[in-house]
């Protein structure tokens, strides 16, 4: 039978591992991306560090701001 402090340590490290995995997943899904689809069915991903990606993310940021300042029509 393991000593009581072992049980506590295992449990705490288990929770820490879970939290670390959650944060890794969260970082992954929250990463910004820009994807362009062509008429021929192909698509291109532009990273945030590329010139096109930067321009797309900047323009998208302005659209997000406009949507936040919505006025009643």
């Amino acid at each position: 039978m393991p000593k009581p402090h072992r049980v506590v340590l295992d449990r705490v490290s288990g929770y820490a591992d879970e939290a670390a995995a959650f944060m890794r997943r969260r970082r992954h899904v929250r990463r910004p991306f820009a994807r362009v689809y062509r008429a021929n069915g192909s698509s291109v991903d532009h990273g945030a560090e590329s010139e096109t990606g930067t321009a797309l993310l900047a323009a998208a940021g302005r659209l997000l701001e406009l949507a936040a300042t919505k006025v009643e029509r």
Partner: protein
């Protein structure tokens, strides 16, 4: 080419040119279909037909986004940009363009389907729900 064929082609070219009121109605309909939408706009070429706020702002920002998407020389049909603050979809259908700003993690394929259907309905004369069914009355 026969006169009949020529006449039907001309009618097709001159078919429906969406007006601003109809476009506003279509945008409202799109927002009803997609409750996760925060705002949007419908453009024809560079002109804003309808938007949920500052129309010139939507036109300029959408044009900037499409210019960036077309930068490699090929015309983009659809653009999807996701940031931590939300997601942006831009879709072209003929001469019409729809822009939608949504919450994060929206289903991209569903959003694109709704946007495409809205633009097709607008080009055909407005939201399908508003058109009388054949044989009605």
């Amino acid at each position: 080419m026969s006169q009949e064929t020529r006449a039907s082609d001309t009618a097709g070219i001159l078919a429906h040119v969406p007006d601003r009121q109809l476009a506003a109605h279509s945008l409202d309909h799109l927002m009803e279909l997609s409750p996760e939408m925060r705002g949007g706009a419908i453009l024809e070429a560079d002109a804003v037909l309808a938007a949920t706020g500052d129309e010139p702002g939507w036109g300029d920002s959408a044009a900037a986004l499409l210019a960036a998407a077309d930068a490699d020389g090929e015309s983009a049909e659809q653009v999807h940009v996701a940031t931590e603050a939300g997601e942006v979809f831009v879709l072209r259908e003929g001469s019409l363009t729809a822009v939608a700003v949504t919450e994060r993690f929206v289903l991209a394929s569903l959003m694109a389907f709704d946007m495409r259907a809205t633009l097709r309905d607008l080009a055909a004369g407005g939201p399908a729900t508003d058109r009388a069914a054949p044989g009605a009355n």
